[in-house]
C-alpha cells in the first residue's frame, strides 16, 4: 500500500534526525510531549479519564461489578484490564477480537497495577467465598500518535484515582447513582516506555518514531522506589547497560508525571 511506502520514508527521516542528535518535532531525546488529563469524562463509569500526549488521545473507564471470587482466593477481589484499538484512532486499526498488540498492552498495564499492590484485593471482598468486586478497567484509543503504553497507564491510574465504589443492596445488587466511598490506592504505579531507535534511547516516541523503532522497554515504577513490572518489545535487543538507562529514565519520568495526577 502507498501508506506503507510513506511510512518507510518517514522512518528514514526519523533515523537520520536521531543520528544527528535531533527529533523531528524538536524534542530532546528524554522529553515527553505535553500531557493533558481530563477527569470524569463519563458519568456512567465509576471512574474515567481522557489523556492526551500531544495528539495521542486515549480514554480509560472503570466499572466495579460484583462477581464470583476465584476458588483459590475466596477473600480477594480482582481486576480485569482490556484494551481496544478503535478504528477511530488510526487507519491501521480494525474492529474485531483483540489482537496480540492489544492483549500485550492490556496485560502490561494490568501487571503494573496488580503487582504494585496499589489495590488491596482483600478490601475488594464483599463476602468471603461468595462475592467480590471485579474492577474492570477498559482502555480505548481515540487518536494514535504513538506511545499508547504510557498514555494508557496514566489514563488507567487517573480513572482509578477517581473511582467511586457503588452502593449495594439486597443480594449484591448495585443501587444506581449511589456510592459507598472511593476506591483506595496505596501506590501510584506508572509505566514509562523508552524506545530504541538507531541505537539511541528516546522517551515518549510518537507514531512516526515508533515506525523506526528497533525495540522498546517499558517499566512500571512506584513513588517509593520499586519497579512493579517491565516488558521488552520489538524485534531488536538491549544491552544490560541500556536496560539500566531505561530504568533510570522510567523512575525520573514517572516522578514528573505523578505531579500532574
Amino acid at each position: 500500500m502507498a501508506s506503507d511506502i510513506v511510512l518507510d520514508l518517514r522512518a528514514d527521516k526519523v533515523i537520520e534526525a536521531i543520528r544527528q542528535g535531533k527529533r523531528l518535532d524538536g524534542r530532546k531525546f528524554d522529553e515527553y510531549r505535553e500531557i493533558k488529563i481530563i477527569k470524569n469524562i463519563s458519568k456512567n463509569a465509576n471512574g474515567s479519564a481522557r489523556v492526551l500526549f500531544g495528539e495521542t488521545d486515549v480514554i480509560a473507564g472503570v466499572k466495579m461489578v460484583p462477581g464470583d471470587p476465584f476458588p483459590d482466593t475466596p477473600k480477594e477481589g480482582s481486576i480485569s484490564v482490556g484494551a481496544e484499538f478503535l478504528p477511530l484512532a488510526s487507519p491501521l486499526f480494525e474492529y474485531g477480537p483483540p489482537g496480540k498488540e492489544e492483549m500485550e498492552l492490556a496485560r502490561v498495564i494490568d501487571r503494573g497495577i496488580r503487582e504494585s499492590k496499589c489495590l488491596d484485593f482483600e478490601k475488594l471482598c464483599i463476602k468471603e467465598g461468595e462475592k467480590v468486586w471485579v474492577v474492570f478497567i477498559d482502555l480505548y484509543t481515540m487518536n494514535d500518535d504513538g506511545n499508547l503504553f504510557d498514555a494508557f497507564s496514566i489514563a488507567a491510574l487517573s480513572a482509578l484515582l477517581e473511582t467511586k465504589i457503588p452502593k449495594l443492596e439486597d443480594e449484591y445488587k448495585i443501587v444506581k447513582g449511589e456510592f459507598s466511598g472511593k476506591l483506595h490506592l496505596a501506590r501510584k504505579p506508572l509505566l514509562c516506555t523508552t524506545t530504541k531507535i538507531a541505537g539511541h534511547l528516546i522517551s515518549d516516541a510518537c507514531f512516526a518514531e515508533e515506525k523506526a523503532m528497533e525495540a522498546r522497554f517499558s517499566v512500571a515504577t512506584t513513588e517509593d522506589g520499586y519497579m512493579a513490572a517491565y516488558q521488552k518489545g520489538g524485534s531488536g535487543s538491549f544491552s544490560p547497560k541500556e536496560i539500566d538507562d531505561c530504568i533510570d529514565l522510567a523512575f525520573a519520568e514517572a516522578k514528573e508525571m505523578r505531579k500532574q495526577l
Binding site: 458519568k43 474515567s48 481515540m142
Partner: protein, 259 residues
Amino acid sequence: MTKKEEKKEYVKNGKRLDGRGLEELRPLKIEAGVLSRAEGSCYLEWGQNKIVAAVYGPREALPKHIQNPYKALVNYQYRMATFSVSDRKSPKPGRREIEISKVSGEALEKAIFLERFPNTTIGVFVEILDSNAGTRVAALTAASVALADAGIPMRDMVSAVGVGKAGGEIILDLNKDEEDASDAVDIPIAILPRTEEIVLLQMDGLLTPEEWKKALKLGLKGCKQVYEVQKEALRKKYLEAEKEEAEPNVEATTQGEGE
C-alpha cells in the same frame, strides 16, 4: 428496563422533570475536526451523551469481491464503550449495536454522493463514551458532521433527534427517565433537513396514528434545530482552518498517514 411507578407524572406545569419544556432539546454541543489521524471527526455532547465520530476513506474496498462498481459502500459502526452505560456492557458488539449500525449507515447513504467513488468504502466509526437515551440519533448527528469535516461530498446533512411519549405526553428528545416510563414510546428519526426526506425512522411502544402525527411534526422541528448546531460547528471549524493556514503548520509530521 424496569417500568416503575405506573402513575408517575412526567410533565408538570408545562415542564418536564429535568426542567425542559415539551419541545425542548437537551443542551447540544458539537465540535468538528478533533482527531488528527482521521480524515474527518467530531466530538458531540448532548445532555449526558458524549460521543466521538471519525471518518476514514473513501479507500479501496477490500476484499475485492465486496466492491460495488457503481458506488461507494458506507461502513457505519456504532459502538458503546463498556463503561458508557449503567451496567457494564460486554466489549463484544451486541445485536442492538449491529442493528443500529445497519440502519444508521443506510440513513447516511442517501446523503452522500456515493456514485462518485465506485469500488471504495467510507468508514464511519462512532464511539459512545457516556450515554443517557438518544445515543443513536446523537451518533448519526455526529457522524454527519465528521463526514462533512472529511470533505465527503454530500447532498445535505443528516440531522437526527429522538421524539416520543412519556406519561401520556408527546415530547422531544427523551432522556433515560422518560424512556423508562411505563407507557414510553421512543421514535428515533433522521432527515435530510432541506427536503424533509426521512432517512431513519424506528419506533417501539404503543402509539396511535394520531399521536404519530403530532410526534412527526415535533421530530421534524427538532431535526432542524439540530441542523443549525451542526452547521455552526462546521462554520467554526472552517474559520479556524482558515486561520491556521495563515500560520506555519508545525504539526505536519503527524498528518497524512490515512491516505
